[in-house]
């Protein structure tokens, strides 16, 4: 790992304290976010705030199982985020496919396709676990270890290959076939 410049260190410390989150609510995991955001657990006190668009978001929170249709959108959205960007895989679905692991269209491992910085295990993970994950991610960012976005850039070919293998090549490019 390369040594960070002082500016990068400062920037990273800022980044760690201000996390704007885009939650990609594909499954039941999204259920756990409202309590995380609202008064009970209040994630805003860590500087975590929900965002409506990937252009502004720092982390992509994937809350639930992915299938071949949604994964394509996840990748697209991820690529639209500005660097540096981080991914949190939420719940066991993103780790091993969860209870639908044997379905024909379920994606079993998220980090084949996009680099995941933090996984939160469990089905469902409780808000405490989510906050813990945020804290862990912050720590990683501060130390400059959350480098998923760099890995994605460096290993772009590999990721692309995995993506195509699972999703298949798209031959007709229009709004109905992606």
């Amino acid at each position: 790992m390369k040594e960070r410049t002082i500016w990068e260190q400062i920037a990273d410390s800022f980044r760690s304290r201000s996390i704007w989150m885009l939650h990609y609510c594909t499954g039941c995991g999204a259920m756990e976010l409202p309590p995380t955001m609202t008064s009970r657990f209040d994630m805003e006190r860590f500087g975590v705030a929900p965002m409506a668009t990937p252009r502004q978001a720092d982390i992509l929170l994937i809350t639930g199982y992915l299938n071949t249709k949604t994964l394509r959108r996840v990748i697209y959205t991820y690529e639209q985020m500005a660097d540096p960007k981080y991914v949190i895989g939420f719940g066991s679905c993103t780790i091993n496919g969860g209870i639908y692991f044997d379905s024909y269209s379920t994606i079993n491992r998220l980090d084949y396709y996009v680099p995941v910085d933090v996984y939160i295990a469990g089905c469902m993970p409780r808000p405490e676990a989510i906050l813990e994950a945020f804290n862990y991610l912050m720590e990683k960012i501060r130390k400059g270890e959350a480098d998923g976005w760099k890995r994605y850039r460096e290993n772009y070919e590999w990721y692309k290959q995995n993506q195509i293998r699972s999703l298949g090549e798209v031959y007709v490019h229009d709004e109905f076939h992606e």
């Binding site: 920037a11 980044r15 201000s18 500087g47």
Partner: protein, 295 residues
């Protein structure tokens, strides 16, 4: 000297509003029984945004952002802060000049954001402009009656002329209407129709990333400064720099508290609201001023 004062304006505006925004988040959190982020959270957010590697959607996108920020900076430089001592350009602090110079920023932002090519940005801008039609009218009528009453549109002179009593007390109706319009200007709930993150993905800002977001945030900071300063100067009698700051904070906190308990209007509801009671009150106020029925 004027240049230093103008620079000072910018510095004050930047730190004051940015911390107030953090405080606002804190207040909102407290109202919702949360702890909330620290007061300096917005500084962190801003610098983080500036440090990111952004996307640019074409030159007009860049140009729009620059124009927006430039316009807001220019306006913030003219604004008097409570008294003639803190008025950088006593000859040009005309109210209409400020209002319209302010529109440069709005236009720049609108243009840049639509230039991003995102339909949501366009929808957001259309809403923002419509909302402008809503809140500006009562506000301008109130301001016209103020100017008619004091026979000057120069802000620092208006401050001086309020020695006898704050304008808010001289024409309370006008003060109330101006405050309601201020809420719309600030884009606080219930008037955050153009942002509406849940409907149109934060509207005009949908394509803003990294430093663009940061620069527009700065622009927003100066806009808030201009809007509230105008209200403080014109309706709350300005005062020494310290008093000015206090009044500024009070107005801001009040606006935040009101906004934190209200839901969002739909666009035509907003228009009907503004063109109903506030506009009526504004005209009533104008009538009172004409007839000399001021307190």
């Amino acid at each position: 000297m004027a240049a230093y004062k103008a620079l000072f304006n910018l510095v004050v505006a930047f730190f004051l509003v940015l911390s107030l925004e953090g405080i606002a988040r804190k207040i909102m959190a407290r109202i919702q029984r949360r702890i909330g982020p620290p007061w300096y959270q917005n500084f962190i957010d801003l610098f983080k945004a500036l440090s990111k590697h952004p996307f640019s959607n074409g030159w007009i996108f860049d140009f729009g952002v620059l124009m927006a920020l430039g316009g807001a900076l220019a306006t913030a430089m003219i604004i008097p802060m409570g008294s003639i001592t803190w008025t950088p350009f006593p000859n040009s602090d005309n109210f209409f000049v400020i209002m319209y110079l302010f529109a440069v920023g709005a236009l720049g932002m609108a243009m840049g954001m639509v230039g991003s090519g995102n339909p949501w940005a366009s929808i957001g801008v259309s809403r923002a402009l419509t909302q402008m039609l809503g809140y500006e009218l009562p506000y301008l009528i109130v301001m016209s009656s103020v100017i008619f009453f004091y026979k000057t549109a120069s802000i620092h002179k208006l401050i001086e002329l309020q020695r006898g009593g704050w304008n808010l007390l001289v024409m309370p109706l006008g003060g109330i209407v101006a405050f309601i319009s201020l809420m719309g200007m600030l884009g606080k709930k219930p008037f955050d129709i153009m942002i509406a993150p849940a409907e149109i993905a934060s509207g005009p800002m949908v394509e803003l990333s990294g430093k663009y977001m940061g620069l527009l945030h700065i622009m927003h900071v100066f806009s808030v400064f201009v809007e509230i300063s105008l209200f403080v100067d014109v309706f709350l009698g300005g005062g020494s720099f310290g008093w000015y700051l206090v009044k500024f904070v009070v107005v801001w906190v009040l606006a935040v508290m009101i906004s934190s308990v209200l839901p969002r209007f739909r666009i035509e509801q907003m228009l009907k609201f503004y063109w109903g009671v506030p506009l009526g009150l504004a005209f009533l106020n104008a009538l009172f001023v004409l007839l000399g029925w001021t307190l």
